[in-house]
Amino acid sequence: MLFSSIVFLFTFLPIILILYYLVPRPMKNVILLFGSLLFYAWGEPVYIFLMIFSILFNYICGLDIARNLGDQAAARRSLIFTVAVNLCILGFFKYEGFVLDSLSAVLPVDISYRAMALPIGISFYTFQILSYIIDVYRGHVKVQTNLLDFALYVTMFPQLIAGPIVQYADVDRQLHVRKESWGKFGEGSMFFIRGLAKKVLLANTIGMVYTEVAALAPGKVSVLSAWIGCISYAFQIYFDFSGYSDMAIGLGKMFGFEFLKNFDYPYISQSITEFWRRWHISLGSWFREYVYIPLGGNRVPVIKHLRNLLIVWFLTGLWHGAAWNFVAWGLYYGLILILEKYFLSRVLERLPAVIRHIYSLVLVLIGWVFFFSPTLGGAVDYIQLMFGVGANGLVDSEGLYLLTTNLLLLILLVIGSTPIVHRAYERVMAGRGKILANCVVYAAMFLLCIAYLVTETYNPFLYFRF
């Protein structure tokens, strides 16, 4: 189920909220768990069994690791076994086709396989489970003996299918001690409506512009169209994904949870290093915590540090999708980050902020080309178009049409990608007598979203692929 759907907004959520607030405290987690399983099964009726297996398996393994903590070797064996099984499941469902295709390309034999549907959210919940298992092993968190609480951690519907990737240590306490309140519910409502508006009003709308450009025949793309396409995609993925994170955070608050923020205006970054501190923060933290630092981080000789960075960024790319262009996308960022760390940052420091900003945005936009192109070759072709190679001139009628009919939207998105709107809004609303004004703004946003949702059949969610 998607948050941005009529069934979620006007059937699922109201029922869960009513039940949640009606039942006594000990039953609240049961309601949430039950709701989360239903939420998952709605889109993936069969994979719910895989999910339940994962929960039971990791619950038992967690107990086993904790029991063996006195015996380093045994605990380690148990950890390795658990992590391996989780990665095998992820690998089987997500990477089987990719690995076999790649092997077929290299080996003289053709390997056939039956392509399977990717279980929704498997990349997200596998990483959540791993954070728990590894932290139990490291003694950072206490083992969860309550199966229900553990199951809730894995399945919690607000962040189940698209993150943020919540580390177990961050919600451990909240699973049994948390406080719901009117104020928090209201804050959650505002987060949720904001996120919904980002997704439905902005991301979906600009997404259609990208789709239009992507559908143009090869000879009919001008430089202008190519950039509009790429910029549209950049806005689509940001407002889509960060909107979804906002909705997740908002829903969490409605049920008394506090999740960490996942996006922090990434497009205002003045370097790629900064971009990755602001983009999909929960994924970056996860890789730092469970891959980069265990490998030695930067407290190792330069050559090893380079190796560590490349491993992390290879995996980051691969996490986003089982295809070589995602790997290329990850390594592309790995290389830029290495360059920035050892050399570029000193150059950048001396440049004016505008140049630093343009530098970052251009690199990020080129990065998205790897992301949205179906193949590596397609990505290279598209990048060439952006710089005039094989393009239908600098500007053509199609490009002008796209620009003029979406100019207002694009300006809105540019401003919306900066903290300006939020800051100005908060300043205005901080004054007296603004309660009603605030209500009107949020009600209007909510109603508009509903109008868009009822109208649009176009409602794909980008992050389902992961």
Binding site: M1, S5, I6, V7, L9, F10, T11, L13, P14, W42, G43, E44, P45, V46, W182, G183, K184, F185, G186, E187, G188, S189, M190, F192, I193, T205, S397, E398, L400, Y401, T404, T405, N406, L407, L408, L409, M429, A430, R432, K434, I435, L436, N438, C439, Y442, A443, F446, L447, L448, I450, A451, Y452, L453, V454, T455, E456
Partner: protein
């Protein structure tokens, strides 16, 4: 300190109020939806609405139940029309000029985007038409492809809007059909009259005026003799037509236009007709189904809409018998053709599953005409099947 306390208190009150806004809005909408009755059919969208699906284990397991339930919920959402018009209004303010494949052009014109050609399917169809023509070398086979409004009325499109090149599509189709099929170019005539009301503003069809220019072109190309045929005069039969482009896009929901029929000035000059709806086993003595004028699909007034096979017999003093393969564009042309044929067999391949060879023999066909609008033809996947009598290779 006191000020910041006040600020925090105000913020808390603001958040509490927001909670009420969210809950009240959600609650109210849920309530309205609970009370409102499910509808079977949407007049505005002109389609059957999804009904509440049955809960069965199989349907749940395959996920079919969930999908149906979701479309059921959004189809039956209370105040659907209101929400749709709200959205399109906001889109217009934001500068958008296209919704669901429909351009919002100037002078209240809505123009359906030109469809992308399905090359493989079109090839199959042109091959089949050519083979069919070669099978009956003694009979003339004509093809008329009608350009769509977005092609003819390009100057009505929003600024800079670009569509597929329909002229190029037609040129390619004409080339593929070769010499055995007589190509009738109606684009020139339509473009010549583009300043007249030849297309509906809110519907994807042409007006009867547009169809009359096509008729003139047919007369010239099919060597029909108009001397014995009385002159036609337009009569408005509806003034409140708001077509399907308006429904699909949500634009121009209040725009109403007229539908005309062309008939001889004197009733006694008109040829008499009997229309036999073959598969429906129904006969009427008129080319017009006026009951359609009460509903949304007013263009359906022409011959009652699209049927698999019509057998129209007339009192025309001739032995010519026409076999017409067509889409809905032809429905507005057929009334012009009745004085020229003793019998017109009208086949809509999208719905037809019969045997064409039999039709050819039983009805002593003398002329064959294919009449389609470009957008339907380049996406059609039924012509080749019908011409090959349902054989699939």
């Amino acid at each position: 300190m006191g000020q910041s306390d006040g600020g925090n208190r105000r913020k808390l009150q603001r958040m509490k109020a927001a909670a009420i806004v969210f809950l009240a809005t959600t609650g109210l909408i849920c309530l309205v939806n609970l009370v409102s009755q499910d509808k079977e059919f949407s007049e505005k969208e002109n389609r059957v609405l999804e009904q509440k699906p049955k809960l069965t284990l199989g349907a749940v397991e395959s996920g079919r139940f969930m999908k149906q339930y979701e479309s059921y919920k959004s189809d039956q959402f209370a105040g659907r029309d209101f929400w749709v018009s709200l959205k399109t209004r906001v889109d217009l303010i934001a500068g958008k000029r296209k919704a669901n494949g429909v351009f919002k052009g100037s002078d209240n014109y809505l123009l359906e985007d030109i469809s992308v050609m399905n090359e493989e399917q079109v090839k199959k169809n042109t091959d089949a038409i050519r083979a069919f023509a070669e099978e009956y070398p003694e009979l003339p086979v004509y093809m008329m492809l009608v350009p769509n409004a977005a092609n003819v009325l390009q100057d009505k499109l929003p600024p800079f809007a670009v569509t597929e090149d329909q002229d190029a599509q037609f040129a390619k189709i004409q080339k593929d059909l070769g010499d055995s099929v007589h190509w009738i170019d109606v684009s020139k005539a339509m473009k010549k009259h583009k300043n007249e009301e030849i297309y509906y503003h809110t519907d994807h069809h042409w007006t009867t005026l547009g169809a009359s220019y096509a008729y003139e072109t047919l007369v010239k190309n099919m060597k029909l003799d108009p001397s014995k045929v009385p002159a036609f005069k337009p009569y408005a039969v509806a003034n409140d037509f708001n077509g399907t482009l308006s429904s699909t896009s949500g634009y121009e929901a209040g725009y109403e236009e007229s539908i005309y029929i062309y008939a001889p000035k004197k009733d006694k000059d008109a040829v008499e007709v009997v229309v036999n709806y073959v598969d429906e086993q129904k006969k009427t003595a008129t080319l017009y189904d006026r009951s359609k004028l009460k509903g949304k699909d007013k263009y359906g007034m022409f011959l009652g809409g699209n049927y698999s096979m019509l057998d129209i017999r007339t009192t025309a003093d001739t032995t010519a018998r026409l076999l017409l393969f067509k889409d809905s564009y032809a429905n507005a042309v057929i009334p012009f053709l009745t004085p020229y044929y003793r019998e017109i067999i009208v086949i809509d391949p999208r719905y037809y599953y019969g045997d064409i060879t039999e039709v050819m023999q039983n009805h002593k066909i003398t002329d064959i005409l294919f009449l389609y609008n470009g957008n339907t033809f380049v996406e059609d996947n039924s012509i080749s099947g019908v011409l090959q009598n349902g054989e699939t290779e």
